[in-house]
C-alpha cells in the first residue's frame, strides 16, 4: 500500500515552528492566559512529533503518549486557571510581571 504521503520532515518542521512560536509566546507575553495557550502550543508541537513518528514507524507507542500528554495538559490548565483566579482576587490584575513577591 504505497500511498504517496507528505514526508516526515514536513511534520517535523511544522512541529518545530509551533514549538518556537509557543516558547516565544511564553517568554514575551505578560497575560497568563496567553502564556497558557502558548504552553498548549508547545505541548501540541510535541504531540505532532509523536504522532508523526508513530505513523512513520508503524508503532502505537507514540499515539498512546499523546493521550497522556493531552490528559496532563488538561489537568495543568485546570490547576493553572484556578491559580490565576486566586491571583486576580489578591492583586486585582493578572499581569505576570506583578507576581514578584519572591524577588531576591
Amino acid at each position: 500500500m504505497t500511498v504517496q504521503t507528505i514526508p516526515l520532515s514536513w511534520y517535523l518542521a511544522i512541529s518545530a515552528l509551533l514549538f518556537i512560536l509557543g516558547a516565544l509566546g511564553v517568554l514575551i507575553r505578560r497575560n497568563p492566559l496567553i502564556i497558557f495557550m502558548s504552553v498548549e502550543l508547545m505541548l501540541n508541537a510535541a504531540n505532532l512529533v509523536f504522532v508523526a513518528f508513530a505513523r512513520s514507524f508503524g508503532v502505537l507507542t507514540g499515539q498512546i503518549f499523546v493521550f497522556f500528554v493531552m490528559t496532563v495538559s488538561a489537568a495543568e490548565v485546570a490547576v493553572g486557571l484556578a491559580l490565576i483566579i486566586i491571583i486576580f482576587r489578591n492583586k486585582h490584575s493578572i499581569d505576570v510581571d506583578l507576581m514578584n513577591s519572591l524577588k531576591g
Binding site: 517568554l27 505576570v96 507576581m99 513577591s101 519572591l102 524577588k103 531576591g104
Partner: protein, 718 residues
C-alpha cells in the same frame, strides 16, 4: 557402651567445684557459715565421686587411656588447641588425691576458719575462703586432666593464682594478726618466684610448638623419638626448661624460697596447696613428660640431682626451725625433693607412690599442727579472759612467726611455747604421732614403703642421689622426733600451753581419716603385689632397663631390697633416738636454748638461719632489682623523662611557640582574617547572585529554556 558414658562425666570434675564456688558467690551472702562450708565441701566431694567413677571405668576398660573432647579453644594458623580431657591411670590417680584430700581439708576448714574469723566476725571472708578453695580444686583438676601442655599450663597458672590469693588471705595483717604487709608480701614472693619458673615452662612450650607444631601430649610424644634422633639438643632444651617450671611450682632448688613463706596462709591452705596437691604438680609434670625425659638421660640426671640436693638441703634447714609449720614446710620441700629425684631417675611409679602417701601424711601433719595452734589459741584466749597472764593482741590467724622469739606477743605457732601438750590434746597427739612415724618412714606406715622404693631405685641407678636421699631421710626422722618431743612431751613452757584445749570433731574427724590413710597407704604398692605399679603401667611405660648392680642390691623380696629398707629404717630409728637424747630425756625448759646449738655450734646457726639463702637472694637479686627500679624511677623517669623531656622539651617548646605566636599577632591578623574573609566572601557572592532572583516570571522561564537548550545541545553534540 556403659564405660564411654562414665568417661563423658569427666568435665564434671572441673565444673562441680565451679558450681560450688558460683553458689557461694551468688547466694553465700544469705547463707550461714555451715551452709557455705557444706556447699564447698559437697562440690569437692562430688568431684571425688566422679573421679572414683572414672577410675572404675578405666579399670573396667583395662586402663586404656581415653581422650574426651570437650571444646575447641584456639585455631591460629598451625596451632590447634582443643580443651580435651585425658582420662588415664596417671590423671585419675591425681584427681583422686586432689579431690579426696581436698574434700577432707574442706571439711576441716569449716571448723578451722570458724575459729579464725570468730575474732572478727567477718563472714565475708569465710565465704571468700571457700570460693578460693573450690577455685583451686577446679584449677588443679584442669591441670591434671588436660590433654595438652597448654591446658596443663592453664591449670598450672590457675593454681598459682589460687596459691597467691590464699597465702595472702589475711592480706592486711601479719601471721599474728597485727596490721602489717607481711602476709601480702609472702603472697607476692610466692607469685613472683613462680613466675620465674613459669617462664621456663613457657619457653619449653614455645620450643615444643616450634619443634612439633602441636601441644597435645599425643602429638608431642609421637614426634619426640624422631626428633631425638635428629637433634637431641631440642629435647634436652625442652626438658631442662620444664625443670625450671618444676623447680618453681614444686619448690626445688633454687626456687624453693617461696614455700616456707607461704605458711602465712591459713593452715588448711598450707595443707592442701602447699603440701598435698599443688606443689606436687611439678612431679606430675615430669611423670607426664616421661616419654620426653626418657629420651635424654642428661636431663634425667639433672632432675634427679636437683631433687636429691633439695631433699637434703631442706631437711637440714628443718632441723633448725622453731615454728611448727615452718618445720613442716621445709619437710615438704625435702619430700618433694624425694619425689622429683624419683621421677628424674625414671622411677615414676615410686615418685607417684610417694606423692600419694605424702599427700596423706603431710596433710595430716599440717592439719594437726593447725589443731595444735588452735588449741594453744584457745588456751591463750581463756587465760586472757579469766585473768592471769594477759598478753596483748587478739589473734586473727595464729600462724608462722618470724624467727625472733617475740616477748610481748604470744605466738601460738612457736614450738618453744608448747610442750606437754599430749595431756591437753590427746586425740591430736595420737594423730600427729601417726603422721610423724609415716613421714619418718617407720615400718609399716605409708612413708616407709614409698620412701624405700625411691631409695632402692636411687641405689640402683644413681648412687650419689642415693646417699643424698638417705642422709635426708635421716634428718627427716630427726627433725620430726625433735618436733614431737618439743611439742607433745615435757612440761608446758607457756601458760597458754597449759590451758590448751582439744579441737572439736569437725576438725579431728578428717584428721582421723587421713591418719587411717597414712597408716594403710603403703598397701597401695606393696612388694609382690605392686597395685599402683600395675595401675600406672598403662600410662607410663616402665623403662626398666636392668643395670648391673652390686649383688646385695640385686636381692629382691618381690621388689623390696632388705638391705636398703633395713638401713633406712635403722637410720630413722637412730635419728629418733638422738632426738630423744637431746629433747626427750631432758625436756626443753622455758627460755632454754636449743640443746642442738650447744652440740653443733655455728652449724646449727646455719640451719636456723636457713643458709642465709633469703638474705643472699635479697642481696644479689632483690636489692639489685630495687636499685635498677630506683634508678629507672628517679633518673630515667624522674629526671630524664619528666624533668627533661616533659618539662623542658615539650612544655618549654610549647611555651616558646605560644609566646612567638602571641607576639606575631598570628591570632588576630591571620586566624581572624581567614574567618572574617570567608564571611565577607560569602556575602559578596550572594549579593551578586541575588540579582538573578529578579522576580520576573518570564526571565525564569527564559532560564529554564536556556537550560533545556544547553542540556539538549550537550546530549546531541556529545
Amino acid at each position: 557402651m556403659e564405660n564411654s558414658g562414665l568417661f563423658s562425666l569427666v568435665p564434671l570434675i572441673v565444673f562441680l567445684p565451679v558450681c560450688g564456688l558460683l553458689v557461694n558467690i551468688i547466694f553465700g551472702g544469705r547463707m550461714n557459715e555451715k551452709a557455705i562450708g557444706a556447699v564447698a565441701s559437697a562440690a569437692s566431694g562430688l568431684a571425688f565421686v566422679v573421679a572414683g567413677l572414672l577410675g572404675f571405668a578405666l579399670w573396667a576398660g583395662r586402663g586404656e587411656a581415653v581422650v574426651v573432647p570437650f571444646a575447641d579453644w584456639i585455631h591460629i594458623g598451625d596451632l590447634n588447641v582443643a580443651w580435651n580431657f585425658r582420662v588415664d591411670s596417671l590423671s585419675v590417680l591425681m584427681m583422686l588425691v586432689v579431690s579426696g584430700v581436698g574434700t577432707l581439708i574442706h571439711i576441716y576448714a569449716i571448723g578451722y576458719m570458724h575459729e579464725d574469723v570468730r575474732f572478727k566476725n567477718d563472714t565475708g571472708r569465710y565465704r571468700r575462703f571457700f570460693v578460693f578453695l573450690n577455685l583451686f580444686i577446679a584449677m588443679m583438676m584442669i591441670l591434671v586432666s588436660g590433654d595438652s601442655y597448654l591446658m596443663l599450663f592453664v591449670g598450672w597458672e590457675g593454681v598459682g593464682l589460687c596459691s597467691f590469693l590464699l597465702i595472702g588471705f589475711w592480706y592486711d595483717m601479719d601471721t599474728l594478726g597485727r596490721p602489717s604487709f607481711a602476709n601480702s608480701n609472702a603472697a607476692r614472693k610466692a607469685f613472683i618466684t613462680n613466675r620465674i619458673g613459669d617462664l621456663g615452662f613457657l619457653l619449653a612450650g614455645f620450643t615444643m610448638f616450634w619443634a612439633f607444631k602441636d601441644l597435645s601430649f599425643a602429638g608431642v610424644f609421637g614426634g619426640a623419638e624422631q626428633l631425638a634422633s635428629i637433634s637431641p639438643g631440642v629435647i634436652l632444651f625442652i626438658t631442662l626448661f620444664l625443670l625450671v617450671g618444676v623447680a618453681g611450682k614444686s619448690a626445688q632448688l633454687p626456687l624453693y624460697v617461696w614455700l616456707p613463706d607461704a605458711m602465712a596462709g591459713p593452715t588448711p591452705v598450707s595443707a592442701l596447696i602447699h603440701a598435698a596437691t599443688m606443689v606436687t604438680a611439678g612431679v606430675y609434670l615430669v611423670a607426664r613428660s616421661a616419654p620426653l625425659y626418657t629420651l635424654v638421660p642428661q636431663a634425667q640426671s639433672v632432675v634427679a640431682l636437683v631433687g636429691g640436693i633439695t631433699a637434703l638441703f631442706a631437711a637440714t634447714i628443718a632441723v633448725g626451725q622453731y615454728d611448727i609449720k615452718k618445720v613442716l614446710a621445709y619437710s615438704t620441700i625435702s619430700q618433694l625433693g624425694f619425689m622429683v629425684a624419683a621421677v628424674g631417675m625414671g622411677a615414676y611409679v615410686a615418685g607417684m607412690f610417694h606423692l600419694v602417701t605424702h599427700a596423706f601424711f603431710k596433710a595430716l601433719l599440717f592439719l594437726s599442727a593447725g589443731s595444735v595452734i588452735l588449741g594453744l589459741e584457745r588456751g591463750h584466749h581463756q587465760l586472757a579472759h579469766h585473768g592471769g597472764h594477759a598478753s596483748p593482741t587478739p589473734h586473727q590467724d595464729p600462724h608462722t612467726p618470724g624467727d625472733q622469739h617475740a616477748e610481748d606477743v604470744f605466738d601460738p605457732g612457736d614450738m618453744r611455747n608448747m610442750g606437754g601438750l599430749r595431756r591437753q590434746m590427746p586425740v591430736t597427739f595420737w594423730l600427729y604421732l601417726i603422721g610423724t612415724l609415716a613421714l619418718a618412714g617407720i615400718f609399716p606406715l605409708a612413708g616407709f614403703w614409698s620412701k624405700d622404693e625411691i631409695l632402692l631405685d636411687a641405689a640402683k641407678n644413681f648412687p650419689l642421689v642415693y646417699i643424698l636421699l638417705t642422709a635426708a631421710a635421716f634428718f627427716t626422722a630427726f627433725y620430726m622426733g625433735r618436733q614431737v618431743w618439743m611439742v607433745w612431751f615435757g612440761k608446758p613452757r607457756h601458760p597458754a600451753a597449759e590451758h590448751a584445749q582439744e579441737s572439736p570433731k569437725v576438725i579431728t574427724v578428717p584428721l582421723m581419716v587421713l591418719a587411717g590413710l597414712s597408716l594403710l597407704g603403703g598397701a597401695l604398692n606393696l612388694p609382690y603385689v605392686h597395685t599402683l605399679g600395675k595401675w600406672l603401667e598403662h600410662t607410663i611405660a616402665a623403662a626398666e632397663h636392668e643395670v648391673e648392680v652390686a649383688p646385695w642390691l640385686a636381692v629382691s623380696w618381690g621388689g623390696l631390697n632388705p638391705f636398703v629398707a633395713l638401713l633406712s629404717l635403722a637410720l630413722a630409728l637412730v635419728a629418733i633416738f638422738i632426738a630423744w637424747l637431746l629433747y626427750g630425756r631432758k625436756p626443753l625448759a622455758e627460755g632454754q636454748k636449743d640443746p642442738l646449738k650447744k652440740l653443733l655450734g655455728p652449724v646449727f646457726t646455719v640451719f636456723e638461719r636457713k643458709y642465709w639463702v633469703d638474705e643472699a637472694y635479697w642481696a644479689v637479686f632483690v636489692d639489685r632489682y630495687v636499685d635498677i627500679a630506683r634508678f629507672l624511677a628517679n633518673v630515667v623517669d624522674g629526671r630524664f623523662w619528666h624533668d627533661f623531656i616533659h618539662d623542658r622539651v615539650i612544655a618549654g617548646t610549647y611555651n616558646w611557640l605560644s609566646r612567638v605566636v602571641l607576639d606575631l599577632h598570628v591570632d588576630q591578623q591571620f586566624i581572624d582574617a581567614i574567618a572574617n574573609g570567608l564571611g565577607r566572601l560569602t556575602t559578596r557572592i550572594s549579593a551578586s547572585l541575588r540579582r538573578l532572583q529578579n522576580g520576573f516570571v518570564r526571565s525564569y522561564a527564559l532560564a529554564v529554556l536556556a537550560g533545556v537548550v544547553v542540556i539538549l545541545g550537550y546530549l546531541i553534540l556529545k
